[in-house]
């Protein structure tokens, strides 16, 4: 019979291996999520890597949700830092993209940070109101309000 120490080591080792798999499976989608909020692929990767560093160090019931929440919070932190530093220019779009997509991206990047996050979580991650509320630490009603207001701005400013 293994002692408690062996069990603990197994748990932690299993956690590390399990988290590595989650990290690899989630990395691209998490970078895309951060990119929608930040408009910069390099910053998006930095945010995701920082979030993975933090999420990998603590055992949680739902590591994927924890990682996603860390990515959203990390992105919001970057946006707040930007607000007190300098005007940020998003990455240039890939060549030959339709102009309405560029307009949509720029309009999205002009939304308040929580509206931006709520829309990215709904349309990219496909989360429910409840899941978005947990990620943003707010009520479901607030999620509906954030999305309604964000979509209204997008639709008024960009012809979809």
């Amino acid at each position: 019979m293994r002692d408690v120490g062996g069990s603990e080591t197994d748990v932690v080792t299993g956690w590390v291996e399990g988290f590595e798999a989650i990290y690899r499976a989630s990395y691209r989608s998490m970078v895309q999520l951060a990119y929608l909020m930040l408009g910069s692929s390099s910053e998006a990767e930095e945010v995701v890597q920082e979030a993975a560093l933090n999420a990998g160090r603590r055992i949680s019931n739902n590591p994927h949700a924890y990682l996603r929440r860390s990515v959203v919070n990390g992105s919001i932190a970057v946006l707040r830092r930007r607000a007190v530093t300098e005007k940020h220019q998003p990455d240039p779009p890939p060549p030959e993209q339709p102009s309405y997509l560029v307009e949509l991206r720029d309009c999205l990047l002009g939304l308040p940070e929580r509206q931006r996050a709520a829309i990215a979580l709904r349309y990219l991650e496909g989360l429910t109101d409840s899941e978005i509320a947990q990620t943003l630490d707010c009520r479901e009603g607030s999620v509906r309000s954030l999305i309604s207001r964000g979509l209204s701005t997008l639709r008024n400013e960009v012809i979809l």
């Binding site: 910069s40 990767e45 993975a52 991206r105 979809l160």
Partner: protein, 329 residues
């Protein structure tokens, strides 16, 4: 805003997100050089930490069990029904909500000149004379049954700029939301379908987003009223689940037929973002003519390409988990 528009927006945002897709995935160990060592430096045996992990696993099991138990009855947030300090409860028909004490409440039907931070209520709004679209009320006079966002949109005609119509679940109550915004503020017009009640909340300040969310979160069945009838999930969730339910039991001849292809196209128009790409894969395969009515084996999913099998499996999983409809048999 139709569901097609919603799907278009989802596709556009996913395209934009791919602009930021990384070229490769850096190994976790390179991000955190100390991370692998962390697992080896756990130190002497610690019962406390072992029990933390065990407790976490137990909590996960309890949460999953609770989720499985509650999913079938109500997917909405818990309705507390309490009235925050400094707020007042309002009951209209069998619906209750709460707003700040100082908010005026209007219960007599008229084509109000709406002001910010007011609540306007109407029972059986479809029996009243409709107002002009500029007034801001949701004109339900011509809306056919069953009331769904698209039929509301068609009935309203060409709503003013900034209007959005969506189907919402307010703590177990089905409601059509007509959200409007102009230079003076914004309003949430909730038509609570099964209770035949219209609730209009008006706001003037963009900073009221959180307040709006707090008020919306209080809308639910009045305490003295009967709890909302829990209907079959396929009819309460959304049109997509209803369509899945309708196509769950079909003859073999249906697979790959023109009717099948048309149904997939219809589903795509109302599909939630999670299953759009899978439906598109299925639609492309059906449209390719790969299924031959003269060759029954071509109708077997196991003979379909792996990508189509995967999409089909994802759709079945979604139908089972979200709609409560098992399509795998």
């Amino acid at each position: 805003v139709s569901r097609e528009d919603d799907a278009d927006l989802g596709r556009a945002l996913r395209t934009i997100a791919r602009w930021g897709e990384p070229a490769d995935i850096p190994p976790l160990s390179q991000l955190v050089p100390t991370f692998p060592a962390h697992s080896q430096q756990v130190g002497p045996p610690s019962r406390t930490r072992w029990w933390i992990a065990a407790a976490a696993a137990l909590v996960l099991v309890v949460m999953l069990t609770a989720l499985a138990v509650t999913r079938t009855s109500d997917d909405s947030s818990p309705y507390v029904g309490s009235v925050p300090e400094g707020w007042k409860a309002i009951v209209v028909g069998s619906v209750q909500l709460a707003v700040p004490d100082q908010w005026p409440v209007h219960e007599e039907w008229s084509c109000w000149d709406q002001a910010a931070n007011n609540v306007y209520l109407a029972k059986a709004p479809r029996t009243h004379e409709p107002c002009s679209s500029e007034k801001g009320e949701l004109n339900l006079g011509a809306a056919p049954h069953p009331i769904e966002p698209d039929s509301i949109l068609a009935a309203v005609g060409n709503p003013q700029a900034g209007a959005q119509v969506t189907l919402e679940n307010l703590n177990g109550l089905r409601a059509v939301l007509d959200y409007r915004e102009d230079d003076t503020g914004y309003s949430f017009n909730y038509f609570v379908v099964d209770e035949d009640v219209l609730i209009t909340l008006t706001f003037g300040d963009a900073a009221d987003t959180d307040l709006a969310g707090d008020i919306i979160a209080t809308i639910g069945p009045a305490p003295e009223s009967s709890p909302p009838v829990v209907e079959d999930s396929a009819t309460t969730l959304d049109p997509f689940c209803s369509m899945v339910a309708a196509s769950a039991d079909v003859p073999e001849a249906y697979v790959g037929s023109a009717e099948h292809l048309a149904d997939v196209a219809s589903m795509l128009a109302v599909a939630p973002p999670q299953v759009i790409s899978q439906l598109e894969i299925l639609q492309s395969y059906l449209a390719s003519g790969a299924i031959d009515a003269a060759q029954p084996t071509s109708k077997l999913i196991e003979n379909w390409p792996p990508e189509v099998q995967g999409a089909s499996a994802d759709l079945s999983r979604y139908s089972s988990e979200v709609c409560g409809i098992d399509t795998r048999d």
